[in-house]
């Protein structure tokens, strides 16, 4: 167990690359060197990168759950209101007019699933998070524009304050910076 980091401690090393290819090479090189908990930053979604890092989200299951909840709530609400709480004959329709109730059930399913997808994604990503140590690196502005970054953070099991920069330097990055805990 590592000790709790203090302000100013090293957060990790951040290397900048020009393209996906270089970034992927760097990821493979770091993996070969035994690093397992790296993070990459790209200006657009790149499947190969998260495949290389081994990410796989559980979001679809959450969304399915959200949808089912919404559907049950939707139908339940209509059933409760029309059959249990205030039963009233409308145009001779049965109290449980299930064909009519399907529409709102469907809409509620979609609504809950969509809300789960969006807020689930944000929550799992730990967003909103206004500040992150990597933002202190000046070059990191380019991460949202045209450059690719690889971070080997302090919490990586084989993080070594001397070996990591040497390894990254050997991959000839466009820039290499140490990130500090704020």
């Amino acid at each position: 167990m590592k000790r709790r980091p203090k302000s100013g401690d090293s957060f990790g090393f951040l290397a900048e690359f020009a393209g996906t290819e270089e970034l992927l090479e760097a990821i493979h090189a770091c993996k070969a060197a035994g690093h397992t908990r790296m993070e990459a930053y790209t200006p657009m979604p790149v499947h190969e990168v998260w495949d290389a890092l081994g990410h796989k989200s559980h979001l679809p299951k959450l969304v399915l759950g959200g949808g089912i909840t919404g559907g049950i709530l939707g139908f339940g609400m209509q059933y409760f209101a029309s059959v249990i709480h205030y039963p009233i004959n409308v145009g001779g329709r049965p109290l449980n007019s299930w064909p009519s109730f399907i529409i709102i059930t469907f809409e509620m399913t979609i609504l809950f699933a969509a809300l789960t997808a969006v807020f689930g994604m944000l929550l799992l990503n730990g967003l909103p998070r206004p500040h992150h140590p990597v933002f202190d690196v000046e070059e990191f502005e380019e991460a949202s524009q045209s450059r690719f970054f690889l971070l080997v953070p302090w919490y990586d099991p084989s993080f070594d304050h001397d070996k990591v920069p040497a390894l990254l330097e050997s991959l000839s990055p466009l820039s290499l910076n140490e990130v500090h805990h704020p």
């Binding site: 393209g19 996906t20 993070e39 990459a40 930053y41 790209t42 200006p43 657009m44 979604p45 790149v46 499947h47 190969e48 998260w50 890092l53 990410h55 989200s57 979001l59 679809p60 969304v63 949808g67 609400m77 209509q78 209101a81 029309s82 709480h85 205030y86 409308v90 145009g91 329709r93 007019s97 009519s100 109730f101 529409i103 709102i104 469907f106 809409e107 509620m108 979609i110 609504l111 699933a113 969509a114 809300l115 997808a117 969006v118 994604m121 944000l122 990503n125 967003l127 909103p128 998070r129 206004p130 500040h131 992150h132 990597v134 502005e141 380019e142 991460a143 949202s144 524009q145 045209s146």
Partner: protein, 444 residues
């Protein structure tokens, strides 16, 4: 789908500079000015309405549904193209959508806002519109869940919510780009807050893309359901001309039809004004023209079936409704709508027409008019001649009806002009994936 010679940097530059540059073209002020002027008209019409009541509209007995419903359906329909472009074409991996989806999504949201105004105002006391929602109350009353009008409340509010989320989610990475590029401090802060601290981490992207695809998968049946519910507003009743089982698919097709026409109407001047010919290429316009042609044919199928079954049903009310439409008081509207919606769009079979920007612009306008007329014909002809001949009456919108309608066009334009000035109208991060040499999107 992107002109050659672009790199990640140049795409970012080109699109974000539209938002971040300090000078604003004069045309933008003129456009916004016109929009705001019409918003003034809208506010006047609403003020008069709230002051005097819906009696200032042209509604009468038997025509209890007039401009408000026509315009509601018209606007909702226009919104549908946005969802179609952003969600359905994404699922079908039609990459040409990338440069127009943001714009189309914005259009959806603004169109739904305009649409929502009409039923809200039509209820007479909009400040009590929350009565439409089911909530426990002291009177133990519940809304009528068997009514399609209530289905509308759920469908449209779900649609508005999901569209907004879809749009905002799509904007987050671009907000991050703008945050990192903005020079002026206030913009940096505002865009920074909107970006929610997005930093483009790979694991975030992975969840992001999953969420985006899931939303697209959810939005697709949703958009179909919304116009289906709108068609149920008519079809589950037993009014001749309304009660037809073909209504749901033909309404949905009509919505996409009018929506694409609106995208075209807006995109053609926009790409010219902002020099976006590299991103919204002629091929985009041609593809949209093909969608317009295809959906137009489905609409034509709907009209054909209605006409055939008006006779085949052997129901005197059905056939008198149809002959009323064709030869009665509103025959001009019916034949004009046939000309606008069915006859002229057949020109799109010709490739020359599909690739002529001027012709497409005119055709798109014609379809916009035709689709408004379609709703006018459906709403008004069926109501004005109901089952009891002694109750028949004609209907025409008053100037307040027209002011409200034109006013919402102003609201739409105003929002649109604000959008293109302050938000990237083309998705920057998605355009980056189109740059050759960077990694392609794997099959979804």
């Amino acid at each position: 789908m992107i002109a050659p010679g672009h790199s990640l940097g140049s795409v970012t530059d080109k699109i974000s500079s539209i938002v971040l540059r300090r000078t604003t073209p004069r045309g933008w002020f003129i456009g916004l000015g016109i929009g705001l002027l019409l918003v003034g008209v809208l506010l006047t019409a609403i003020a008069e309405l709230l002051f005097k009541g819906v009696g200032i509209w042209g509604l009468n007995n038997p025509v209890g549904w007039g401009f408000a419903i026509i315009n509601f359906v018209w606007w909702i329909g226009i919104g549908h193209a946005g969802t179609l472009i952003s969600a359905i074409l994404l699922l079908f991996r039609q990459e040409w959508r990338t440069s127009i989806n943001r714009f189309a999504e914005a259009m959806t949201i603004f169109a739904v806002m305009c649409a929502g105004l009409f039923p809200l105002l039509h209820v007479g006391r909009p400040w009590l519109a929350y009565w439409l929602l089911p909530y426990p109350n002291t009177m133990a009353l519940w809304p009528q869940f068997r009514s399609p009008l209530l289905w509308d409340v759920f469908a449209v509010s779900t649609y508005a919510t999901v569209s907004l989320l879809f749009w905002y989610i799509g904007l987050i990475p671009d907000f991050a780009t703008l945050r990192d590029r903005a020079k002026a401090k206030p913009f940096k802060v505002i865009y920074g807050m909107l970006a929610l601290g997005w930093r483009g981490a790979a694991r975030h992207w992975e969840r992001y893309e999953t969420a985006y695809l899931l939303l697209a998968g959810l939005a697709t049946p949703l958009v179909v359901s919304v116009h289906t519910v709108v068609s149920f507003d008519f079809a589950v009743g037993i009014i001749p001309g309304w009660h037809a089982t073909i209504m749901p698919p033909y309404f949905v097709a009509g919505a996409i039809y009018s929506g694409f026409a609106m995208v075209m109407t807006l995109a053609i001047p926009m790409r010219k004004a902002f020099g976006l010919e590299d991103f919204i290429t002629l091929r985009h316009l041609e593809n949209m023209a093909k969608v317009i042609l295809a959906t137009g044919l489905i609409v034509a199928y709907g009209y054909t079936m209605e006409a055939f079954f008006a006779w085949y049903s052997a129901n005197p009310f059905e056939s008198s409704m149809m002959s009323g439409r064709m030869f009665g008081h509103y025959a001009w509207a019916y034949w004009l709508l046939i000309a606008c919606n069915i006859v002229t769009p057949q020109l799109l079979w010709i490739k020359k027409v599909r690739t002529s920007v001027g012709a497409l612009f005119v055709l798109a306008l014609v379809v916009n008019i035709g689709m408004w007329l379609e709703r006018f014909v459906i709403v008004v002809t069926s109501l004005s001649n109901d089952f009891l001949p002694s109750a028949w009456d004609t209907y025409a919108g008053t100037r307040w009806d027209w002011m409200l309608y034109i006013g919402t066009i102003g609201l739409f334009l105003t929002l649109l002009f604000l959008f293109i000035r302050f938000l990237p109208m083309i998705s920057i991060f998605e355009m980056r994936t189109m740059v050759p040499g960077t990694s392609k999107k794997e099959d979804a």
